[in-house]
């Protein structure tokens, strides 16, 4: 039985693991290849970077092109991808079984809750360990093939740290899922902390007097010691491992203390933490709103009102604090920009971070805004068709007197609407942040950048919709959206650096989202039009595919 739970959990994750590892390895290989030509250029100037910046970026003081790209990939992309996988496993372990109404069946076997939980935990550890190992091998092979200079780099140590931080977030999801039985709460809170702690651990050390606050975030123990350059940091690994062990222990206590849920409605985080509490119930209702069922588009928007509200608030407040942050860091940023050669600026997106528009572009619009908007629209796109098939509600929907094309179009209108609302939150937050910091960013340009963010979000959601229309598989649909986003990010980030590949950056949606730096230069109607047109094309293709196939049951 124990072996069965373990092997079943591992088996279920092999596909996701392979996708994750192959994606990360492909991105590493691509980036290492592009950067390898610039080793010498970068090496000459890297030593003059401010130490805080190098630390935040995970760049070696003996920086070469290879170390920069490995720093970015293994400090950011690898833990995000493997951490996401671990969160997914940790969430599914108990809360996922409750959501799927399989927990009763599982526990009717003569095994205790503790035994089941620990078997699933072991599977999570094994999957994350194998993933880290494969990423290590992939990165090492990429570097070896290109023949880059890796002296002073410890890819193996970095991979061990990736394993530790991923395990931490998986254990956190397991802990929350075991105590609440709510998979949305487990995955949402864990993923939220993953992103927030990444930002906090990167930013806080740059602010005088706040350096030690970074130590409360797990990300600090992942890469503040620069394991890629300095090797293993046993103390930090012990902190991550120790807290993970405590979380797993706590999960065992949690799952044994409460009534297990048998399927049915799964309230979201707001339901569990806020809506059921009499003092704050009314506010929670306002955030998630009453279900709206006037038509398919409005119901779809209503279904995602909670997630959309949280994402909008996160974008707004992050944008808001960027203004005061800029004033606090202005000196450091000016120093940094003055020593950066033009060639190197191209690598970090050709933005002048010492200007308000460049700062907002580099710190907010490069990743946070597209990441937050994309996360919501991809989720909507994946759930729109394939999600309804997975939950088996599509049959009931389609026996109403409506065409399948209407379902697709209304769902895409909902994605468009959500992207617009999040784009508006981006505009409002950035405008407020700029005013709060007394900065002089053009309101028109802020509107332009937010407009391009809206179009970008719609495009990614439409791609996930297309994936669902083609396959009827919600996971595959999400992979399509995430894959297009991640690969697009890597292409748009690294291709412009190489003269031979620069033109190919145009295949990336990120190119049309940010290439023109709308905060500085105003909106590009062409770029906006390309993204919207591509999104509409994806919707049209979704209609064709969805209309021709069997509905999954």
């Amino acid at each position: 039985m124990l072996a069965t739970i373990y092997s079943k959990t591992v088996k279920e994750r092999i596909f996701g693991l392979l996708i994750s590892v192959v994606s990360v390895s492909a991105m590493v290989a691509l980036a290492v290849w592009v950067y390898s030509d610039l080793d010498q250029v970068i090496a000459e100037f890297a030593a003059s970077f401010p130490e805080a910046y190098l630390s935040a970026m995970g760049i070696s003081v003996d920086g070469t092109g290879t170390s920069i790209v490995l720093g970015e990939m293994l400090n950011l992309i690898a833990p995000m991808v493997l951490g996401g996988l671990a969160i997914s496993i940790g969430t599914s372990a108990i809360a996922g079984e409750e959501r799927d109404n399989t927990i009763g069946l599982l526990l009717s076997n003569p095994k205790s809750r503790t035994t089941v939980l620990l078997a699933k935990m072991r599977a999570m550890v094994a999957v994350v360990a194998v993933g880290s190992l494969l990423i290590w091998l992939g990165a090492a092979a990429s570097v070896a093939l290109v023949g880059s200079n890796t002296i002073g780099l410890s890819i193996g140590a970095m991979s061990v740290h990736v394993f530790a931080i991923s395990l931490f977030f998986g254990s956190l999801a397991l802990f929350i899922g075991s105590w609440t039985g709510n998979s949305g709460a487990a995955s949402g809170a864990s993923a939220g902390l993953l992103i927030f702690s990444f930002l906090a651990a990167g930013f806080l050390p740059l602010i005088q007097g706040w350096e030690n606050v970074a130590k409360v975030f797990p990300w600090y123990y992942f890469n503040s010691s620069q394991p890629l350059q300095n090797g293993l940091k046993p103390g930090h690994l012990a902190v991550l491992g120790g807290v993970s062990a405590l979380l797993i222990g706590g999960a065992v206590v949690g799952v044994n203390r409460r009534d297990l849920r048998s399927g049915g409605v799964e309230g979201n985080l707001l339901d569990r933490l806020l809506r059921n509490h009499p003092r704050v119930a009314a506010y929670a209702e306002k955030i998630t709103g009453k279900a709206q069922v006037a038509n398919i588009a409005i119901k779809t928007l209503s279904d995602h009102q909670g997630g959309g509200t949280i994402a909008a608030a996160a974008i707004f407040y992050t944008a808001l604090i960027m203004g005061p942050f800029f004033n606090a860091l202005k000196g450091v940023l000016s120093d940094l920009m003055s020593v950066m050669p033009e060639g190197l600026l191209a690598i970090v997106g050709s933005v002048d971070m010492s200007t308000p528009a460049g700062w907002f572009h580099g710190e907010l619009f490069s990743m946070v805004v597209p990441g937050a908007i994309g996360a919501i629209t991809i989720m909507m796109g994946a759930r729109a068709l394939a999600g309804e098939e997975r939950t088996q509600t599509m049959d009931l929907l389609l026996v109403n007197p409506i065409k399948r094309s209407r379902v697709v179009v209304e769902k895409s209108v909902a994605i468009l609407g959500m992207a617009f609302l999040l784009g508006f939150a981006t505009f409002a937050g950035t405008a407020a942040g700029s005013l709060l910091g007394g900065l002089d960013i053009s309101m028109l340009n802020i509107a332009g950048a937010s407009g391009q963010a809206f179009a970008f979000g719609f495009f990614l959601g439409a791609m996930a919709l297309l994936g669902g229309a083609m396959t009827g598989n919600a996971k595959a649909a999400a992979y399509v959206g995430i894959g297009v986003g991640l690969v697009g990010f890597v292409i748009a980030s690294y291709f412009p650096v190489s003269a031979n590949l620069a033109e190919w950056a145009r295949v990336s949606p990120f190119y049309y989202y940010a290439q023109n730096q709308p905060l500085s230069n105003g909106i590009s109607w062409t770029n906006l039009g390309v993204l919207l047109a591509a999104g509409v094309l994806a919707v049209a293709a979704s209609v064709l595919f969805f209309d021709r196939r069997d509905i999954r049951n």
Partner: protein, 304 residues
């Protein structure tokens, strides 16, 4: 909409890759008929219904509803359809009333007095979230959504699963009322007593092929009955074994139990040549009929 049959399938065939789900299914269901659709698990009942509803597409063959093509005229057909899927799933975060409002909006509105009437008859609380309901109470909401637009054709896949006996009775009454109004019910069920009570005709499907279609009366007539004859003295099996219609004979002392098919006159003639004291005959049990079709060695032998 035509005045012809409510549902017609012609050579309906569905393969999932190499796996056969349906093979050359020919059915004709009249308007106003309650048509029972029976078969073991995996026989192809749900596939038939989902194909008729254009949720999946046939490999070959056609289906028409009220003379309209199930694929080409799918939207018009659905104006007249009510459906309960076999594995009923609904939106857990909506209340029953919100769910019904959603589907009512997609249908262009319904008469809410009809909804309230059905809710009252089935004792369904529409103010609760669907995810918080028991499976039986969820099923009630599913039934109401199928009935609420007073459909001309109801397609019901295991509709009474999870319902308690009282609600099952009310549900069967609702079916009969609909049929009395000239509406058609295409009913798949494993509750054989329910089918026996409400269905005018039944079809039995096995391994994707139609095994038999007949009225309930005809099936009963054709069914093998058990007749027990009590004689004044011991009797040999050979007396009854050769009588036309007798399938098997077992003798215990002075009593002979005979499995018998068809008219009884030949059996009575053979028996009364001896000193018969008593005779008991049990009416054909529909369950036994169905089970014979379900597990029979081959369709031809059973259908005979």
């Amino acid at each position: 909409m035509s005045n012809g049959p409510a549902i017609v399938t012609r050579g309906l065939t569905k393969y999932y890759g190499q796996v056969r789900a349906l093979e050359d299914l020919n059915l004709e269901i009249a308007q106003g008929e309650i048509f029972g659709f029976l078969g073991p698990n995996g026989a192809g009942k749900t596939t038939t219904m989902r194909t008729i509803l254009d949720l999946i597409r046939p490999t070959s063959g056609t289906a028409t509803i009220m003379g309209l093509d199930s694929h080409e005229d799918a939207v018009e057909i659905r104006q007249h359809i009510g459906y309960v899927p076999g594995d009923l799933a609904m939106y857990p975060r909506l209340t029953g009333r919100e769910l019904l409002t959603y589907f009512a909006n997609l249908r262009g509105g319904v008469d809410w007095s009809v909804v309230d009437d059905f809710a009252s008859r089935l004792d369904s609380d529409l103010s609760r979230k669907i995810g918080n309901l028991s499976s039986g109470n969820r099923q009630k909401v599913g039934l109401i959504q199928a009935f609420m637009n007073k459909p001309d054709i109801l397609i019901l896949d295991e509709p009474s699963s999870g319902l308690d006996p009282l609600v099952q009775q009310e549900f069967q009454a609702m079916l009969r009322e609909l049929a009395a109004e000239g509406r058609t019910v295409f009913l798949s069920s494993h509750t054989l007593s329910e089918v026996e009570r409400v269905a005018d005709r039944v079809a039995i499907i096995r391994e994707g092929r139609l095994a038999v279609v007949d009225t309930m009366e005809s099936l009963k007539e054709k069914a093998i009955r058990k007749v027990t004859l009590h004689f004044a003295g011991p009797i040999s099996e050979s007396v009854l074994a050769g009588v036309p219609g007798v399938k098997s004979v077992s003798v215990k002392g002075t009593a002979a139990t005979v499995s018998f098919e068809g008219a009884m006159s030949s059996l009575l003639r053979a028996a009364t040549d001896h000193d018969v004291i008593n005779l008991t005959s049990s009416e054909a049990d529909l369950e036994e009929i169905f089970l014979a079709y379900y597990r029979g060695p081959g369709m031809s032998e059973v259908v005979g």
